[in-house]
């Protein structure tokens, strides 16, 4: 995964996207026991076009130019299927902007904060998100004050109560 992250860093440096962070199951795995997943979810900030629409075309083109190919909804980068997800709402934008800086071996990368992962799971609301919230609660040493503020800001307090009581 080191080379995958190096490629993402190159794309960020070259301005293909202004910022990225790992999300999804692999981000959760940073904080808890290893969770089975077959792709690497990468959240990205994109500049909206003049039409107001956002597009992944530039990213796919930059990756094609490097010889990486698309596979289903992902791009296979150094053996890892990467799923690019544009920040689709204000919660995800905040999560991206406040993502934790890490070193993967000697490669810098970003991972969404565990509290934001919980909030995104609550917002998404699938059964696998509920299970992920349970594991994050058990193992991730959540900052409960930080989480409470996020849940309040995005009106997720009721959902949190429903899922955790």
């Amino acid at each position: 995964m080191k080379r995958t992250l190096q490629t993402l860093n190159e794309l960020e440096r070259e301005g293909v996207f202004p910022r990225y962070a790992i999300g999804g199951a692999m981000a959760a795995t940073f904080y808890v026991e290893p969770l089975l997943t077959f792709d690497l979810d990468v959240f990205i900030l994109l500049q909206p076009k003049t039409t107001g629409l956002i597009s992944l075309t530039a990213i796919y083109e930059a990756l094609r130019a490097r010889g990486y190919r698309e596979e289903n909804q992902c791009v296979l980068i150094e053996g890892v299927p990467v799923q690019f997800l544009p920040a689709y709402n204000s919660l995800v934008e905040e999560a991206l902007n406040q993502a934790q800086e890490i070193l993967y071996e000697d490669v810098p990368a970003r991972v969404l904060r565990s509290e934001h992962l919980v909030a995104i799971c609550l917002q998404t609301g699938r059964s696998k998100d509920r299970e992920r919230v349970r594991i994050l609660r058990e193992q991730a040493n959540l900052d409960m004050n930080f989480l409470a503020a996020v849940l309040k800001r995005y009106e997720l307090e009721e959902k949190w109560k429903l899922w955790t009581e």
């Binding site: 995964m1 080191k2 080379r3 290893p34 969770l35 089975l36 993967y104």
Partner: protein, 72 residues
Amino acid sequence: MEALDGVSPEVAKIFAAKENRRQALARLPFPEKVRVVIQLQEMAAVILRARGKSVRPWKVAPSSSKASPTKS
């Protein structure tokens, strides 16, 4: 771990050991966790392919050092 009613002490001990194992896995450095995920993918792929689902375990270059947060 939550208390379990009607479970013998021996079984309770096994459950506690399993929970400890999960906590130990959660404390592994990130690159080691990624290696475990790839092992999980390889195990799951056999079952999923038998069910007709097409999945592909990651093919990544081997590496050895550890990850660490640079800020919390």
